[in-house]
Amino acid sequence: MQTFLRIIGLLFGPDGELRGIIATTLTLSVFSTSLSSVIGICLGSFLGCSAFRGKRLIMRVLHTLMSMPSVVAGLIVFLLLSRKGPLGQFGLLFSMPAMVIAQVFLITPVMIGFSATTVAARAQPILETTRGLRLGKGAEIRLILRECRLQLLSVILMGFGRAISEVGAVSLVGGNVKYRTRVMTTTIMLETSMGNFDFSIALGILLLLISLLINSLAQYLQERGEKHLRNN
């Protein structure tokens, strides 16, 4: 109960630190999820509905990248962005863009992989039907994406879940700088190591609540879509 009151106090009290941390976390996750959704769904849909030489190799590499630990993604981006790295001149390390890059690097393969599987499961019969009517490439792509949209929404949610819960990549390239790159997960790590269990628990609960909120919204959208269809 005391923990609960403390969360309320921190959330709405005069000190804006917790609100700042939440804002940073949401900004980061929304940015990285949006970017990797666009890349992931485009490339994934392409992979899902085409056959070409070398596709098996690409899929194997993709599946390997899908199980990449987040610290490894962080490490690679860290090396790229560090002062002596190939992209060092931009001075991005320990900033929001660096964290976005690391998360996009981490999440995009998962998005590509799942989009490809989703699309591949439906593309063949859809393409046979649309080509039989010669609807054209544009209509084909639109219809495939439309038919897969509920599943693709789940793919996006899963990406968001991975982004918001991930700690290894953001702490490596973000550096957990107070008021700038400190996010909920890295704060939990820090506060726990300092013995502030209450604060950590509060943040943990908040993280879960955010997930609950987003998933409820998605579920509502899915159910509304199905209901609309059935009512006709």
């Binding site: 439906r122 019969p125 859809i126 393409l127 046979e128 039907t129 649309t130 080509r131 039989g132 009517l133 010669r134 609807l135 054209g136 209509a139 219809l143 439309r146 038919e147 269809l229 059935r230 006709n232």
Partner: protein, 223 residues
């Protein structure tokens, strides 16, 4: 009569076994052809190749002067998460939504399912969706219709309606209709010419009566 489609030495293999080998077939405008054969005889494979959704391993498919101007219904067409009227008018241009819907309902009425226009296509029964697919191709002006067992799940009255609608469509635009069926009755009833397939080869072809006669003769080993 002008020829619309000519097939020469068409071969298709799956995993090294020859599924289809057609030496030579010619199809003419204003005619109706049935590919008659048992399950697995290669009807769908041949239609898929003609429709360009499956590549052949070798051989030649030559469409006539107007090119590959066809509409194709796969054996298992995809049913969209769309109202039937929208699904069947995909790619059709109309003045406005209202007019498009009217066009769709008129076409659905022809095959007896005008009342289902607003229903989502995914929730149609097998026979209903096959009727919708037929309405969809008949909304398009094409030189050839390639139909893969288009009425296999349609009840008898529905078949009669569908065949009448196809008849009307054909008499208006003089197209060629090519359909696969495993029903000797349908072939006899609706086709001008019948091509009997067995193990991917043409074993009889010609006028419906003649080809069906040959088909039975071969089947019962009398030939």
């Amino acid at each position: 009569m002008r020829s619309i489609l000519e097939i020469t030495n068409l071969v298709k293999r799956f995993a090294d076994s020859e599924i289809l080998h057609i030496h030579h077939l010619v199809f003419h405008e204003k005619k109706r052809y049935a590919f008659l054969g048992e399950n697995g005889s290669g009807k769908s494979t041949l239609l898929k190749i003609l429709a360009g959704v499956l590549p052949a391993d070798s051989g030649r498919i030559a469409w006539g002067a107007k090119g590959a101007d066809f509409a194709y219904i796969p054996q298992r067409p995809y049913c969209f998460h769309l109202p039937v009227w929208k699904s069947i008018t995909l790619g059709i241009t109309a003045k406005n939504k209202q007019q498009k819907k009217e066009i769709a309902i008129a076409a659905l009425d022809e095959v007896g399912i005008g009342a289902l226009a607003d229903k989502a296509e995914v929730y149609l029964s097998g026979g209903e969706s096959q009727r919708a697919m037929l309405a969809r191709v008949m909304l398009r002006e094409r030189q050839a219709l390639l139909l893969d067992e288009p009425t296999s799940a349609v009840d008898y009255e529905g078949c009669v309606l569908a065949e009448a609608a196809l008849n009307k469509y054909q008499s208006q635009n003089g197209c060629m209709i090519l359909f696969a069926t495993h029903s000797v009755e349908q072939a006899r009833r609706f086709a001008d010419e019948v091509i009997v397939l067995q193990n991917g080869k043409v074993i009889a072809a010609g006028s419906a009566e003649q080809a069906i006669h040959d088909f039975y003769a071969i089947r019962t080993g009398l030939s």
